[in-house]
Symmetry: C2
Subunit: 110 residues, 2 copies
DNA sequence: TGCGCATATGTCAGGACTGACATAGTTTGT
DNA sequence: ACAAACTATGTCAGTCCTGACATATGCGCA
């Protein structure tokens, strides 16, 4: 199971580089990364809109500031479970998540 | 961190009993469980529709039949990450996930 | 009935993730 | 310029999750 290393590279590629290096990703891998990125972006959007600091959100979650930072950076050590928990802690609904995912799909289609 | 035990009870409650025992769930917990259930149902629907056995899907995932069974049962030892990976392995797109979540939200609203 | 196939459930060693801490860089207000 | 608040990144021990295995149940069919 090398998903750890792969995802690390992928996440960096998306963040630092352009959309280019998606060529060596299987559709499943791309979809998974895409999902993670959509959620992490959604998380930061919600948090900043609500004027909540990473530290505050961390306390609410029973977590730490550093982990929240990693969530928003789509760090490979962060799971989608954790991202969802954070989003729900910020008042998101499954419907909101659905919307965020649908939008991400539109982006990918470009 | 007692989420393990809690989620176990919650999942069973939803599966075995009725919608009644949702009273002792915070909105965030309810949303999380709801998400998990929506995905597990979606997984089984996709798999059966494609006439794929749990064993076959397991091989495709590099996993085992027992784990696929637990995925579809929304077992507490299964993460949303794993559920998503399985769904994507069955050809689902983030858009499909979004649709599944949106529908689950509608159900909850009843 | 007996056999093969699909699914459900329990258990466990090993690897992945978590929260916490340390530290550095960045932004904002004075 | 300085401090305070906020955010980014690395590391690590303890815990959770994973795949694998064993086993049981159910189902169709010869």
């Amino acid at each position: 199971m090398d998903k750890h290393k792969r995802t690390k590279l992928e996440a960096r590629g998306w963040k630092i580089g352009t959309t280019a290096q998606f060529l060596d990703l299987t559709p499943e891998e791309a979809a998974f990364v895409e999902t993670k990125l959509a959620l992490s972006h959604s998380l930061r959007a919600r948090r900043t809109k609500q004027q909540v600091s990473q530290t505050t959100l961390a306390k609410r979650l029973g977590s730490s500031q550093s982990r929240v930072a990693k969530m928003e950076a789509a760090d490979p050590t962060v799971t989608i479970d954790l991202l969802l928990r954070a989003l729900y802690a910020l008042g998101a609904t499954p419907r909101d998540i659905a919307t965020a995912l649908r939008r991400s799909g539109d982006l990918m289609a470009v």
